[in-house]
Amino acid sequence: MVFVIASRELRNLFLSPLAWAIMAVLQLIIAYLFLSQVDTYMVLQPRLAGVEGAPGVTDIVVAPLFQTIGFLFMLIAPAITMRVFSDEKRNRTLSLLLSAPLSMSNIVLGKFLGVTLFFLLLLLMLALMPLSLYAGTSLDGGKLAAGLLGLALLLSSFAAIGVFMSSLTEQPVVAAISTFGLLLLLWIIDWSGNSQQQVSGLFAYLSLQSHLGSFLKGLFSTSDVAYYLLLILLFLVLSIRRLDQQRLTG
């Protein structure tokens, strides 16, 4: 049942021009960045050749690229997730799902999965660019995989947060802005802690970006994976609670 909703959600996204527009714009910007990054590497390469343990092409091209992809997704994710529940509420189509033999968690998981699949599809297309470097050189496969996994987890948590924000309001734009606000806050939350060492521990742990950072360095640590999984779980549970509560209060 979850997959029925997820596939509908995914296909609905492609029915609107928004998804296509976002794909095109993202592809264009990332392609430009990719090329300039490759250019930088070409300039640096002769100088790095002699250095022992110098950063390779993966560190110079792929890591910054992935970092930017994560940042750009933070900007576009709200536009995708905003309509997930608020549109259904506004058009009063949610009752179709509510009167079907489904549980609330089926509905929320289906919606979440649909959006996440769209993000992963987008990520896959963007990942083709660094993968194309295999044609001319060899990449650090482990680092690449860690980076992709980190991004996938990051995007899933964007989707979970967006789905929750969308369940709060009937106005898609309000959902988009509040999603963006929360994502940005979680992105920059460790900036404030930089000066004072005591507080920074917690803030740095909460930051979406710092966990992505360690993936991009090629570090696969359970604490980072757990952070994203907990975040996703938290917001999915909150969404389920929110929908249940709406059934009670009307």
Partner: protein, 316 residues
């Protein structure tokens, strides 16, 4: 035919904040019945239907669908219903076929039966030639029919239709009424509407809900008897003498309404023939002699208006 109780509603309450929208409603619906739900705007019709369909949780009370408790086993219970809300839950970006196929999958109609179920629902709702069109481009009437098709697609035991004939033209309304009567033979149907003749045309039972309470619940037959009434209205060209009329066989009482008008009450058979003969014999000049039929509208107005004005008086 063995009549199974399809919907059981016991002491249903629903509060919106402090406002009591549904107040201790209890009723049952058996297989083969079409229940008409009447009431003024804001009486609690839609709220009750939303609760039965699982869209809203009741504040208190019990709902069973085909014997399954909606609150204990919501998934199993919801499999037994088809629900058309006041505003049909349609996705304008989908074609009719895509939309109905999605609904069928949501209701766990197996892949083998899906095609047949789709064809049957489309044919029953007259959607045969619009399957490939976008729902958003269809007229209101067709959209409404897609909504009905969605509700009967998975062949549920109970069909709940909230104002199904809104926005339809008279021909379509007739088609839908026929469809509802047809469905009523094998399913249990709850139908809410503002159109009173519709209830008389399609329903086997009527319930009037007012300010969250059930104020009237009768089968259509009982209602018909009640509506037919036991009185004649007589109007004559020249003034009447009440005594002569009162002595006629079959007439049990006479109310003189005006000098030339009277209401004649009777218990047994209709004494119109004797009354006419006597009027002719007295040379009063018969202008009108008619059975005093109360309409459902009068019952409705009686039950829902008097109280309302009283309440407004209190408020002011």
């Amino acid at each position: 035919m063995d009549t199974k109780v399809l919907i059981g509603v016991e002491k249903l309450f629903r509060y919106y904040g402090h406002h009591l929208a549904v107040d201790a409603i209890s009723f049952e619906l058996a297989q083969g019945e079409v229940l008409g739900f009447l009431g003024p705007n804001g009486a609690g019709k839609s709220t009750t239907m939303q609760m039965i369909s699982g869209n809203l949780a009741p504040s208190a009370g019990r709902i069973t669908l085909n014997g399954i408790d909606l609150l204990d086993r919501p998934k199993a219970a919801k499999a037994e219903i088809g629900y058309l809300p006041e505003q049909p839950p349609l996705y304008p970006d989908l074609t009719v076929d895509e939309y109905l196929a999605y609904c069928a999958r949501l209701h766990r109609v197996s892949k083998v039966q899906r095609g047949r179920a789709l064809d049957r629902a489309k044919q029953r709702c007259g959607l045969g030639d619009v399957g490939r069109r976008l729902i958003g481009n269809l007229s209101k009437g067709y959209q409404q029919r897609v909504g009905i098709a969605q509700a009967i697609l998975h062949n549920p035991a109970v069909v709940i239709l909230d104002e199904p004939t809104v926005g339809l033209d008279p021909n379509q309304i007739r088609d839908i009424r026929t469809l509802i009567r047809e469905l009523g033979e094998s399913h249990g149907i709850i139908l809410s509407t503002h159109i009173l003749p519709e209830v008389q045309a399609t329903c086997s039972r009527v319930q009037i809900i007012h300010r969250g309470r059930l104020v009237f619940a009768e089968s259509m037959q009982t209602l018909e008897q009640r509506l037919t009434g036991k009185s004649l209205i007589l109007e004559t060209a020249r003034p009447l003498g009440g005594d002569i009329l009162a002595q006629l066989p079959g007439v049990d009482g006479v109310d003189i309404i005006g000098t030339q008008r009277a209401r004649l009450h009777f218990q047994a058979d209709n004494p119109a023939e004797q009354v006419a003969a006597s009027v002719a014999a007295q040379g009063w000049g018969l202008v009108e002699l008619a059975l005093d039929r109360q309409t459902l509208e009068q019952v409705f107005v009686e039950l829902t208006c008097s109280e309302e004005t009283a309440q407004h008086g209190e408020a002011a």
